[in-house]
Amino acid sequence: MAKASYYTFTASFITLGIALLAYLWYTIGQRRGAGRYGTFFTVNGALLLTTSLGLRWVASGHAPYSNQFEFSLSFAWGTIASYLYLEHRFRLRSLGFIAVTIAFGLLAYASTLPSRIDPLISALQNNAMLTTHVAMAIISYGTFACGFAAGVLYLVNRNGTVSFLPAPEVLDEIGHKAVMIGFPAQALLLILGSLWANVAWGAYWSWDPKETAALFTWLIYGVYLHARAQRHWRGVRAASLLIVGFGAVMFTFFGNYFLGGLHTYSGF
C-alpha cells in the first residue's frame, strides 16, 4: 500500500507538471484553449494526490502529518484544492500557473525527502484533535498560497495594462477572499494546537518557536485585513502583504531547519 501511495504520488507529480505547462500556455502564451487542459490535468493531479494521501493514511494508520514528506504532500494538496475552488468561484484560470507551480515545487521538494512510514512517537499518536489541527494548516497554507498568486499578479497588473491578466480589482478581491478562508482556518490551527498542547504538555501556549512562527504568520494576515479596511490600502500595499504573509508561511513550513523547540520531531 505504501508503494501504491508512492506511485500515485509520482503520477500526480507528472500530471501537475503537465497542468503547469497548460496553464503557462494559457496565461503567458495567451492560448484560450489551453485553459481547459490546465483545469483537466489539475483536477486529475488533485485526485491522484488525494489517492496517494489516502493510501498512506490507511497504510500508516494515522493522518499524513508525521513527517516533512507527508506534510509537503498535504500542503501541495491544500494549495491545489484552494486554487480549484477559487478558479470555480471566480471563473478564471489566470492564477493557475502560480498556484500549480507552488504545488509542483512542494511535490518536487517532497521527492527529495525520505518517504518511509515511521511509527509515531507517543506524543503524536492518533488523535482527532491533531488531525483537525493539521487539516486547518492545510486549508490556511493552501489558501494563503493562492492569495500569494493573486498578490503577485496584482503587482504585475496593478495598472490594468496587462490585457491578458484579470483586472486588478478582481485580483484584489481574490486575495481578500483567500484570506477570509485562510485567516479563520489559521486561527483554528493555533487554537486546536493549543488545546492539544494543553492536554499533552499541560500548557496551552509555550511560546515555542513553531507556535510563534505560526502566530507571526497569522498576525501578518491580521495586518492585511485591517489595513485593507482603509480604502487607500487596497491594491499595491495589500498585495505586498499577501506576498509577505506567504513568505511567513514558508518560513514556518521550513522552520524545522532552523528553529528548535517542541515541534522539531515533526520534521525529522
Binding site: 494559457y26 496565461t27 495567451q30 484560450r32 485553459g35 468561484r89 471566480f90 471563473r91 478564471l92 484560470r93 489566470s94 511509527p119 512517537i121 507517543s122 506524543a123 499518536q125 488523535n127 490585457s163 491578458f164 491578466l165 484579470p166 483586472a167 480589482e169 478582481v170 484584489d172 478581491e173 477572499k177 477570509m180 485567516f183 479563520p184 486561527a187 483554528l188 487554537i191 493549543s194 488545546l195 494543553n198 492536554v199 499533552a200 504538555w201 499541560g202 500548557a203 496551552y204 501556549w205 511560546w207 518557536p209 510563534t212 512562527a213 502566530l215 507571526f216 498576525l219 501578518i220 491580521g222 495586518v223 485591517h226 489595513a227 479596511a229 482603509q230 487596497r234 528553529l259
Partner: protein, 519 residues
C-alpha cells in the same frame, strides 16, 4: 462598465449609497472631537489616536514584528530566566552566535526574553485597549446599520448604481410587489416596502445581524488576552513532580491533594524508542480518594481544576534506614531525577533527609545511557553521600549493592531495590476554559462577518408604457465580483419566478478571465 440594453450608469456614479434617511455613522469612524477645556482636548486627542484603525494596524504590525523577533532570536528557557546566575551563564550562547555589539543590544532590549518582557506585555495591553476603544466607538454605528436600514434611496440611484438589472413583467406594480417580496424572502432577504413618490419600491437586505460578528470576534480576543493574564496570576504549575512507584507525595499549593503512584509501566517499539509510558495513580483529597486512573502523555487526569500530566520518568531507589535501637526511621523511595557529572561519567541522583534534618543523603546510580561501565559505582548498586548540616564535604560515602545493609554514621542503611519514578507535571489553571470560550467567540465571530456579509438591494417597480411593470433592481456593492455574479443570478431567478424577462443589466466589466472573454 459594460451595459446591455438601454441602461447606462453615470460615469461619475457615486459608489456609496446615498440614503434619504439620516445617514448612520460610518463604521470605524471616530466621533467628532468636542470643543472643551484643555484637558478635554488632550483626552479627545488620545482617544482619537486609540480608536483609529490606523493606530490599530500599527499595533498589530508591532506585535507581529515582536513575535518575529522572539521566533528568530534565541529565547532563554524559563528556568534560566528565573535565575540571574543561570542567565549569565546562558548568555555565552547568544554572545557567540550574534557577536558584539548585537549580543549586548539584544540583551538591553530584552530580546532574549521577548514574551516575558515588560515592553511586550505593554504592547499587548495597548492592543487590548485599542480594540476595546475602537469597538466601543463603532458600536452605535454598527447598531444603526442593523436597526435603521437606509430603506429609501433617490430615484437617481436606480440609474447610477454599479449593479443594475431591469426586468419587464406583465403584472401591474401593485400585484407584483408582494410577489417579488415573497421570492426575495425565500432567497433569505427581508423586505421592506416603500414608495418613491407615486412609484412602488422595495428595500431588501440579508445577513444584517452578521455585522454583530465583529463584537464576538474582538471580544473573544480580549477574553483570550485577559484570561492569559488571569491564568498567570491565579494558577500555578509544577514541572517536575516526581513520584516513585509505590509511594505517596503531597501536591502542595494548599490543594490538600496527595498522589499515590500505584504502578509505572513503560513499553518500547522494536527499534528502541518509547511507544508508551503510563502511571496508575490514586489522588486523595484530605485523606479521601478523589480520583483514580491511568495517566499517559496525551491522557492527563483532572482532579477539580488541577491536572496531572505524564511528562517523563526515571530511576528511583527504595531505601530503609533504622536507628541504633533497630526502629525504622525512614522507609521510602527516592526519585533520582537529576543528572550529575563526576569521575568522567553521568549519574542519576536524588536526595532525602534523615531524622530532624540531621543528615542529608544523596543517592547516585550510573546513568542508564552510559556506554562504558561507571568506574566507581557498579551497575545495580547505589552510592550514598551523607552530608551533615553546614559541612561542605560528605561525612561518609558508601556504595551498596541491592539487598545489602550497612551501618553508616550510627544508622543502618538498607538498599531495598531499584524502582522507577514517574515524572508528572501538575498544572492548576482555573481559567483555561475561559480561553476556549474566547477562542470560540473569536473564530465564530470572524466567520460570521466573512461568510455572512450584509447585502442590500433596492427595487423600483414602475408602470411600463405598454402595460405591465418595469422593475429595476439596484445594488451598490462595489469591488465584489462574487456578489455581482450572485446579483445577476438573483435577477434572472426573480424574472423567472414572476414570469418576466431580463431586459437590461449593468455589471462591472471586470468579471471572469479576460482571456476567456477573448479580451
Amino acid at each position: 462598465m459594460t451595459a446591455t440594453g438601454t441602461l447606462t450608469p453615470d460615469k461619475r456614479a457615486d459608489t456609496e449609497v446615498k440614503p434619504l434617511a439620516p445617514k448612520p455613522m460610518a463604521d470605524g469612524m471616530a466621533p467628532a472631537p468636542r470643543a472643551g477645556t484643555h484637558s478635554r482636548d488632550w483626552f479627545d486627542h488620545i482617544w482619537n489616536v486609540l480608536v483609529s484603525i490606523r493606530f490599530g494596524v500599527v499595533l498589530i504590525a508591532l506585535t507581529a514584528i515582536s513575535v518575529f523577533i522572539g521566533t528568530v532570536i534565541m529565547q532563554a528557557p524559563g528556568d534560566v530566566q528565573a535565575s540571574p546566575e543561570l542567565f549569565d551563564a546562558w548568555l555565552a550562547g547568544p554572545r557567540g552566535r550574534y557577536g558584539e555589539p548585537w549580543a549586548s543590544i539584544f540583551e538591553a532590549l530584552e530580546f532574549y526574553r521577548v514574551f516575558q518582557s515588560l515592553w511586550f506585555r505593554g504592547l499587548l495591553a495597548l492592543l487590548s485597549l485599542s480594540i476595546m476603544v475602537n469597538v466601543a466607538s463603532r458600536t452605535p454605528g454598527i447598531i444603526a446599520v442593523v436597526r435603521r436600514p437606509p430603506v429609501k434611496v433617490s430615484t437617481r440611484f436606480f440609474s447610477r448604481a454599479p449593479l443594475q438589472i431591469r426586468i419587464s413583467v406583465n403584472d401591474q406594480p401593485a400585484e407584483l410587489r408582494p410577489r417579488l417580496s415573497t421570492v426575495m424572502r425565500r432567497r433569505g432577504y427581508r423586505t421592506i416596502d416603500w414608495n418613491d413618490g407615486a412609484t412602488l419600491a422595495i428595500y431588501a437586505d440579508r445577513n444584517r445581524y452578521g455585522k454583530y460578528g465583529t463584537f464576538a470576534n474582538h471580544l473573544g480576543l480580549i477574553i483570550i488576552l485577559g484570561a492569559g493574564v488571569l491564568g498567570n496570576v491565579t494558577g500555578w504549575r509544577e514541572d517536575a513532580f516526581m513520584v516513585p512507584e509505590g509511594t505517596t507525595r503531597a501536591v502542595g499549593h494548599d490543594t490538600g491533594l496527595v498522589l499515590r503512584n500505584e504502578a509505572f509501566v513503560e513499553e518500547y517499539f522494536p527499534n528502541g524508542t518509547a511507544s508508551d509510558f503510563r502511571s496508575e495513580v490514586v489522588v486523595l483529597k484530605d485523606g479521601k480518594e478523589a480520583s483514580r486512573g491511568t495517566i499517559r502523555v496525551n491522557e492527563p487526569l483532572d482532579v477539580g481544576t488541577v491536572r496531572f500530566h505524564q511528562a517523563f520518568f526515571g530511576p528511583a531507589v527504595a531505601m530503609r534506614v533504622r536507628n541504633a535501637e533497630g526502629a525504622i526511621i525512614y522507609e521510602d523511595s527516592t526519585a533520582l531525577g537529576f543528572k550529575y557529572d563526576g569521575d568522567g561519567v553521568t549519574r542519576n541522583g536524588g536526595n532525602f533527609v534523615l531524622g530532624n534534618r540531621q543528615f542529608a543523603v544523596f543517592v547516585l546510580v550510573p546513568s542508564a545511557s552510559l556506554q562504558a561501565p561507571d568506574p566507581v559505582i557498579p551497575a545495580g548498586s547505589v552510592r550514598l553521600e551523607i552530608f551533615a548540616p553546614k559541612q561542605p564535604r560528605p561525612v561518609a560515602v558508601e556504595t551498596l549493592a541491592q539487598g545489602e545493609k550497612r551501618e553508616i554514621v550510627g544508622f543502618t542503611f538498607e538498599f531495598v531495590r531499584e524502582t522507577q519514578f514517574s515524572g508528572l507535571q501538575v498544572v492548576d489553571n482555573p481559567v483555561v476554559n475561559v480561553i476556549w470560550i474566547g477562542a470560540a467567540l473569536m473564530v465564530l465571530g470572524s466567520m460570521t462577518v466573512f461568510y455572512l456579509p450584509l447585502r442590500r438591494i433596492w427595487a423600483r417597480i414602475e408602470d411600463a408604457p405598454d402595460g405591465g411593470s418595469l422593475v429595476t433592481f439596484a445594488s451598490a456593492h462595489v469591488n465584489e465580483v462574487l456578489f455581482a455574479h450572485e446579483f445577476t443570478d438573483l435577477g434572472a431567478h426573480l424574472a423567472r419566478q414572476v414570469g418576466g424577462t431580463v431586459v437590461a443589466s449593468v455589471q462591472p466589466s471586470a468579471m471572469g478571465d479576460r482571456i476567456e472573454a477573448g479580451m
